[in-house]
Symmetry: C3
Subunit: 299 residues, 3 copies
């Protein structure tokens, strides 16, 4: 259920999909693979030790995926060190408690925590890190690509790379070929999942382009990954796939890409990162609204 945990980042309970994702993480950098695994194992173990239901949640990998992302995120934003190992372990433990808390709070609305625990824990650690000399010293510069290559002129290169990178950025990976391996994992989960992810990534990229975002950021997939998660969540995963819900998911994917800029600016003030906040907020909103709409149904 560790591999399932990795696969659940994109709502897939298939361990083989998780294996492909894990390979992609190691291709992105060994530390992403190692810290991602550490987070997944820690979170899953914490949930099991505290007595979370095995058959309903732990065995399906539902207690692992926030830990995966916490591990990958801290490996990206902090240096590789024993203190970071400690932070990942503690973050995954706290993320596991937060997952249960959010699931209890959202249960009346039949919503789930999504990747919110990852977003909360990582944001808190990155924002808080600057107060702590031992943590701060290890913070890695992670400026947006547009900081070194400003400009809004899109090239064909930005377009196709950005579309694949948009899938890789779901795991905070910016190289297009890493994104391609993730896409392979999604196709393994089902050709429709792969297609929805690809179209959603492109939708996010085009949304950013129409609004006039920086081309280098578009090319790194920064406007795509929240759209990927939102698109997959709203079309076929949590909402029954119909022509109406396709339009609904498309609006959601556009909203997630637009929200990306708002969240980035908000967090820039406090030294934070966008993470998957736009996906979480848009998907909660679009799922919560469904009961009011007679033409859309929850899966």
């Amino acid at each position: 259920m560790i591999l399932r945990g990795v696969a659940q980042v994109v709502f897939q309970p298939n361990p083989w999909v998780g294996l492909v994702f894990l390979v992609a993480l190691f291709v992105g950098g060994w530390r992403f693979g190692v810290f991602g695994l550490l987070g997944t194992v820690t979170a899953t173990l914490t949930a099991h030790l505290l007595g979370v239901s095995w058959s309903d949640r732990v065995a399906l990998g539902l207690e692992g995926f926030s830990g995966t992302l916490i591990g990958v995120g801290l490996a990206l934003y902090f240096d590789v060190s024993w203190l970071t190992v400690l932070l990942v372990i503690f973050g995954a433990v706290a993320g596991s408690v937060l997952t249960s808390a959010l699931n209890v709070l959202l249960m009346p609305y039949k919503l789930s925590a999504l990747t919110a625990p990852f977003c909360v824990i990582t944001t808190v650690m990155v924002v808080g890190g600057s107060s702590f000399s031992r943590v701060w010293a290890r913070q890695v510069s992670t400026a947006a690509p547009s900081a070194t290559a400003p400009g809004t002129g899109m090239s064909w290169d930005h377009l196709w790379r950005g579309t694949f990178s948009g899938i890789g950025q779901v795991f905070l990976q910016g190289q297009w070929y890493v994104g391609l391996i993730f896409l392979a994992g999604l196709v393994l989960a089902g050709w429709r999942v792969g297609l929805v992810a690809l179209v959603s990534s492109l939708t996010g990229l085009i949304t950013g382009w129409v609004l006039g975002a920086q081309a280098a950021d578009l090319g790194a997939g920064l406007y795509g990954y929240n759209s990927v998660l939102t698109g997959v969540a709203l079309f076929g995963t949590f909402v029954v796939a119909t022509p109406v819900s396709a339009g609904y998911a498309l609006v959601g994917a556009v909203a997630a890409a637009g929200l990306t800029a708002g969240i980035s600016n908000l967090f820039a003030v406090a030294g934070g990162h966008t993470l998957t906040w736009p996906f979480v907020l848009v998907t909660w909103t679009f799922l919560a609204a469904v009961p009011m709409f007679s033409r859309i149904a929850r899966a």
Copy 2:
């Protein structure tokens, strides 16, 4: 139900009231009228197409008013352009989904979304706009009046203009005579509604004055409009009107005016605007608390 949508900004289901409000918007500037209408129509249509109950919500204008304000807000903060038209349409669609989501989430507490969808969508668009070259280029400078005329010395002029402007600012309109037309609309809805709005506007202004706010901001009604909405909501609309609830609404109106400064400063950091956030937060709080109080009853 389009005119009803405009009227519902101040909780009135009367289309004639909406017509007077619409006239006031056009007097404030043709773009406020046109974009306000565009937002109302788009939001109402979205709700209808997604299958929101016609008799319970759409026909009463309850699906339109957030769209009205989104249209007026974007017309104020962005330039008049085709991109702004696109932003208003998309914002109204997203605002419509958010309205349904909030209504589902708040249903267990018998609260409604109020103007929160307008606040969220407009804040996100204005804060996020600076990342997008095409949007940013069109942002209009909307500094507070006190930026050009600092000082806390109140004149009689500030007092009476601010009281009327406080009603106009519910629709983000700063001229006193536009506020006067809105007041006429409220009196048409019922003399008590008009009186409550007038007293609430004055309450907000006096609260700001006692605390030592900038006179030019008071004169532009910036401390009044949240008190107007809060006062009308808490006295006679969602709470049964009694002497005790009059005091309760008065405390609410004072709190909304006080909160205005807190929210303004918080958003100033990220380049946002106060909008009707203070009204939303205070009114949710004061309505949610009612079940604990044996001496106050929900309408």
Copy 3:
């Protein structure tokens, strides 16, 4: 029930404990005692006049403790003046309404408002205060101790003083001997409560130390007080005390100390203070999660 209100800051319904706490406040400074009492009386009276249940809440002091902290907080962050008296009275009234609102909203999850009303009201007043010439003029400089004595070298002095101050900082009091009197009050409530508070304070301090926080801030108890409240809340108060829940409370105390830095940095941007936000957020999370855990039980 006024003394009970003071005691309820640390979840104790015993009036004698409240008396000891009140003595400690007066030792910290007469204005803390006087404004704390003013806040407690105002909040309790407001709740009673609005008709909150006497036997379930008012008589137990549950409607007073947020008022206590609002009074102490405003006495610390603003000057002693008639305007501050007015702000405390209004703040306690608004805090009382917010207490009821949060209790209604959290009731389905069997959570309570904790000190959130104090956090919200005080944050809003301090952040908003800068807009108001009369309020702003009276703001007192309250920079962290590390501003004048930077450095991360811990001494034995920092350690023992910080442990006692961590208990005093629950009431925003930084002297170690004031913390000692509060500890005496907690021991009066029960030797276990006192022991948990002491261990939690030390836990918070050590967490900050491991992460490399400023020694002067550690010595002033700034990393301890949220851990104290979290530890006492999660071990024996709201959660049944068992070996597993001891570990759970320990993780909570560590999380509260870590979160302290995140919240401080977030609020530093807007000119706010950390207050007991970390305790509130961590304790809500850890209590909300309990139903998912078969090995932990709510008290």
